[in-house]
């Protein structure tokens, strides 16, 4: 009898049967275990993530009291922290953040798609491992190291002079700062974008492209008309991810912007470090948060629309097949 049941734990198994409440739960973790497994992470996220974001939103609506971190509990609610942000002086920060992040995102996607394609499709194991190692090395390299290196290269002892004359300006011009920030963002986003796109390309059936080529298409056309459309949704979500990370970048514009280019993130930090206007910082942070939420809402919407389109296409396709 004991041998048939394997070990002395069978009373527990019986206990589980009753604790589980029904037969279906027999071969599963009990609810208590699942709850215990999830409780630490949930508590951490609630305290360290949800609470701070809620506090930021509430603080942004409190009246500014100089000299204290956080308003008094009875401070009146007001929208006046948002008012000054509509002023023209702030427009430049928002414009810089959005335009530079967007351009860097597009360049990153353009540069990383070929690499992602090669790494996804190559049969050469050594090439793949080598490429992935370089990608991971770039991913793991601290943003500080990248920023310092780029500052060095774009500085007076590097290629700053040559590059600036190429663009028809001088090394300390605003344009050069913009270019530096973009290069910083690209080297930050490139490994992330490549790895994400690679995953997507790996899951596209390579036989479709081969089939098209064997039917007389060129490889170029086959990639553009067959592989690329199948990665459309992945490319869109990579764009959204890169743009969000670009907008969130902090050190890159702080150092490479040389004070000529500042992102909203830098502005928020200044509110904390230099002028100690916490409610104003909180309202900027809230705007940034809403912006990020908006990007992902738009992505969801776009994906939903595309999905509907796909379904319609499939219906048309099936009706034609009949």
């Amino acid at each position: 009898m004991g041998a048939a049941l394997g070990n002395g734990n069978w009373p527990l198994a019986v206990g589980r049967y009753w604790a589980g409440g029904c037969l279906m739960n027999d071969m599963m973790f009990t609810r208590v275990t699942l709850a215990l497994l999830l409780v630490t992470a949930t508590a951490l996220v609630l305290v360290m993530f949800v609470c701070p974001l809620i506090i930021v939103c509430i603080e942004s609506l409190r009246q500014y009291v100089p000299g204290s971190i956080g308003a008094n509990a009875d401070a009146p609610f007001t929208f006046e922290n948002y008012g000054p942000l509509l002023h023209n002086a702030y427009f430049r920060y928002f414009a810089d953040t959005i335009v530079i992040s967007l351009l860097s995102t597009l360049v990153t996607i353009f540069l990383s798609y070929p690499t992602a394609h090669i790494l996804a499709r190559t049969a050469n194991r050594a090439l793949r491992t080598c490429g992935l190692s370089v990608l991971l090395a770039i991913l793991f390299t601290s943003a500080l190291v990248k920023v310092y290196s780029i500052a060095l290269v774009m500085g007076p002892v590097g290629f700053g002079g040559v590059l600036s004359s190429l663009f028809g300006t001088y090394p300390t011009s605003r344009l050069m700062s913009e270019i530096s920030v973009s290069i910083g963002l690209i080297s930050f986003l490139y490994p992330i974008s490549t790895l994400t796109l690679m995953n997507a390309i790996q899951n596209v059936n390579p036989n479709y492209v081969t089939a098209a080529v064997s039917l007389g298409s060129s490889w170029t056309k086959a990639y553009i008309y067959i592989e690329l459309p199948q990665c459309r949704s992945a490319i869109m979500s990579t764009c959204a991810l890169c743009f969000t990370l670009g907008v969130s970048a902090f050190v890159i514009p702080l150092i490479l912007g040389r004070g000529q280019v500042s992102f909203v993130t830098n502005l928020i930090y200044t509110r904390f470090s230099e002028i100690a206007n916490y409610p104003s910082g909180a309202s900027l942070a809230t705007l940034l948060l809403l912006g990020v939420a908006l990007i992902f809402a738009l992505l969801r919407l776009a994906n939903a629309v595309l999905d509907v389109g796909k379904k319609n296409g499939r219906i048309v396709h099936e009706s034609l097949a009949r």
């Binding site: 070990n7 734990n9 069978w10 589980r16 071969m27 497994l37 999830l38 630490t40 992470a41 951490l44 996220v45 360290m48 993530f49 949800v50 701070p52 974001l53 506090i55 971190i69 956080g70 353009f110 540069l111 070929p114 090669i118 049969a123 194991r125 491992t129 992935l132 370089v134 991971l136 090395a137 770039i138 793991f140 601290s142 190291v145 990248k146 310092y148 290196s149 780029i150 500052a151 290269v153 500085g155 290069i183 690679m198 995953n199 790996q202 059936n205 060129s218 490889w219 170029t220 990639y223 990370l245 969130s248 902090f250 150092i255 928020i268 930090y269 942070a285 940034l288 990020v292 992902f296």
Partner: protein, 276 residues
């Protein structure tokens, strides 16, 4: 016509790869070379004579060494805590009913896309309201939070590969929940957990946006120290510090390749030929 188009594409791709490689790798290589410069100032490139003076300066500086000590300590503790909590949460998410797991995993992964500065600013408020003044604990808690999405995701990919029948066999033979987790899930997911550990370590070593709101005068991390030196005195000791950080990354990659295999981390996808 077709061949002509393909040749253009091939040349274009080669050009794109070359430019990308140059833009991404050249600056760091230049920094590594510059860190061996013997001159007292940042002179023209390449250096005329080599020395280890900037490394000497880096390792002599009590400011940098304090930062390095706290950075390594916080990164190791963060990686340990984050990969433990992440693994447990991943098990919970994988086996919990969908209607619970879906919203929970969305909120667990959300810190990935929230700007670090917003999070740091909010955390600052939170700790001020709580009256929590232990700087080391503040930074550690924040780092565990921002690295948890990575550890949960990597652990989930490890658990996804485990056959349900194995779990059922264990339960039917009378294993307890804890035994199933320790004897089956943990060993099979071990390499994924190790990957998560290294990701957490790397991102904890790197974070500035959140940490900068939480540091004090006595507890600060290496990136913060480098940043403040970059703003005050742009010299080559930062290049030495950078080279040291690149060295840490290379050691991590070596460990990753030896322990897990870099190819496996990324996965080959559903059409991947594992044998080729």
């Amino acid at each position: 016509m077709n061949r002509w188009l393909d040749n253009i594409l091939g040349i274009g791709l080669a050009a794109i790869l070359a430019v990308t490689g140059m833009v991404l790798l050249l600056p760091t290589l230049m920094t590594i070379i510059a860190s061996f410069d013997a001159r007292r100032f940042i002179g023209s490139f390449p250096p005329e004579s080599l020395s280890l003076r900037w490394y000497y300066e880096f390792f002599q500086s009590s400011y940098y060494m304090t930062a390095l000590y706290y950075s390594l300590l916080i990164a190791v503790l963060t990686a340990l805590l984050s990969s433990t909590i992440g693994f447990l949460a991943a098990v919970g998410l994988h086996y919990a009913p969908r209607r619970l797991a879906n919203p929970l995993s969305a909120i667990f992964l959300a810190p990935l896309i929230v700007p670090g500065v917003v999070l740091g600013f909010g955390t600052l408020f939170l700790f001020a309201k709580m009256g929590f003044t232990w700087t080391f604990g503040k930074i550690l808690a924040a780092h565990v939070l921002i690295t948890m999405p990575y550890t949960i995701r990597t652990a989930l990919t490890g658990i996804d590969g485990i056959k349900q029948s194995m779990i059922e066999a264990a339960f039917s033979l009378g294993a307890t929940d804890i035994q199933v987790i320790r004897r089956i899930l943990l060993p099979i997911a071990a390499s994924s957990i190790a990957t998560g550990f290294l990701f957490a370590f790397a991102f904890s070593m790197d974070d500035v946006a959140v940490t900068i709101f939480l540091t004090g005068t006595d507890v600060y991390t290496l990136p913060i120290a480098m940043l403040s030196n970059m703003k005050s005195d742009f010299n080559l000791s930062i290049a030495a510090a950078s080279t040291f950080m690149v060295l840490i990354v290379l050691v991590m990659l070596f460990v990753l390749e030896a322990a897990v295999g870099i190819d496996r981390i990324v996965g080959r996808g559903i059409y991947g030929r594992a044998g080729s």
